[in-house]
Amino acid sequence: MAIWLVIMLALPLAAAAAGVLLGDRPASGRLSAVAAAASFAAALVAVFADHAVRGRHAFGNTFFLDGLSGVFLIAVAFVYAVVAVYSIGYLRPGIGHIRLRRWYWPLLDVFGFALLATPVVANLGVLWVAVELTTVVSALLVTAEGSDESLEAGWKYIVIGSAGLAIGLFGIVLIYAAGVPSLGVHYTPTYSTLAHAAPHLNGSLVRTGFAFALVGFGTKVGLVPMHAWLPDAHSEGPSPVSAMLSGALLAAALYAVLRIGAITQRAVGPSYVHVLLLVFGGLSLLLAAFFTLRQTNYKRLLAYSSIEHMGIVSLGIGIGGPIAAYGAFFHVIVHAAAKTLAFFGAGDLLSRYETRDADDVRGVIRLAPFTGAMVLLGALAITGVPPFGIFRSELLIVTGGFAQSKYALAGLLVVFVNVAFVGVYQLFHRMVISPGEPTPRDRTRLSRPEQPLMAVAMIASLAVVLVLGVWIPSPLNRLLHAAATVIGGRV
């Protein structure tokens, strides 16, 4: 397992170094895409081929992989791979308007490295550093188009994100202090050390520490009310970066919350963790669902959809019990695939219409049939229409709610998911299906041929979210069960 993790982490760094040397040459993009795809393959081997689901350390206490980290690792590795492939096409002249071309690939690769490191590191301090690194790099990527709006979005993101992470670090310090009486002043806060010592940790410090960690890392997850940076960063960043933020970054930050939550749960029991997740998750779902109804900027709409989905995952864990937790972890994976598809489609749309305003986009399906189909399928996938994977994960969470006799929560989930469906679908339906009268200039621009690599990335994302909607391979099934055991209880 260890060697695969090293390969997985070394490849993005090597690609970043090569990107710095090669600059704005096409080889930079190709190298990055190969490195990202190979990292994804290495992640799959590390997770599935070596019984990592049982929870294992590698290289002493450097890496730790169990069901929980496996789920998030697969999600972020997949997103990094498809985003790198998509970006090659997106950076072609006349498509994406990236001004920061010289540094795009090195930054994307370092971003990928930090995201891949987050779920596999073994101690809380390094976990924080990995998440902090994602902030610094991704904030620069958000500004890559160089517009005033992207600058504003990048600034908000780095200020709010960094403040959140400082608060998250405060939470980690409190949890460390909770272990000092039993573990001594000098100890390495690995997950397994803290988990074993959990019954002896000071309860009030652990509770306060988790609350700070939830608020701090929750800022990066985009949980309401710490979400102010998210709609701006997602909507103003280049579309492949938006996909990476939504599908991978939010998941990686949520992983940090859940990892600390798992330790907290062992120390003080599950109800405290569950209640906090229910409160923040419920607020996020509620607010985001209503905000989807009033958006006319289609990328911003997708950003609110991301807040909604992080709320759903938090609710799934907060409901408690193995079924809802299984559904929540499955949701992390299918959301990663569905949201990359949606943002890829939005990027294609943006490159053709050069506007984010849905009111200026009409009749896509007739003028650019492939793009129109992908955009519409992406919208259907993220709103949980069967047979897409999100339908299945949401159904599992609702079933878990009923199994735990939390009928009101399950009912609220159903209601707000449907509110979000109305908000998302009506806007995308209007853009794709409704007739429009484009000018001759529009016709020329809209009918440009599909960029093959962008199409490949979209089809790959679509295939994952579609296949997982009807079939969960048994290794993935075992992984999801193992993840649910870490924080949701034994299946």
Binding site: E132, F170, A177
Partner: protein, 223 residues
Amino acid sequence: MPAAPHYDFVHATAAIIAILALLSGLSLLLVKQVHEQVRVYAVQSVCAAAYTLLVGVNRVDAALIVLAVWTALIKVVVIPIMIDRAVTRRVSEHEVPLVVQVPMSLLIGVTLAGLAYWSASALPTHGALLPMPALGMPLSLVLIGFFFMITRQNVISQIVGLLTLENGVFIATVAIAPGLPFAIGFLLLLDLLPAVVFYGVFARLIAARAKTTSIEDMAVLRG
């Protein structure tokens, strides 16, 4: 009858440092000029470094002493100079527009400090040398830094607020988890440095557009 607390030279010094650090946090709320805000941050960082040094000497802990020297170098010298060179000298205006005026800011700052001490008293922490509740002062800096960030519409002020918040977390780490700095203390600072460089880049980009570090005009993205 409980025994009276014993204060020796080391505890008394720690108490003075804690008071100075808290006062530096509150002083931030008084100054409108960006250069002065950066200087107040430097003074506050002197307190953080001095406290780390005191704990290191008291515990005979070489790593903490090195960390104190490193903190002084980075936070007292490098970061203020970097911020000053990156932005402050390039822009025309230096007075920060305030969302909340100075008297009200100070009142809120004192209230936040009171809240921090009250909250910290509920936590069973025994801080290295700091007067109890040990987390009162660091938590005050966290809250004041946060408040400062959200009420100053200027790039430099927001950076100073963020760094103040980070100073609070740093002092808390040394106070209640002195073993933790070995693992992440250096990483924390090493991480902070590139972050500030990036902030400098952002701030410069913003300043280059309008020769201002004000963010009052940043209101395009809403809803």
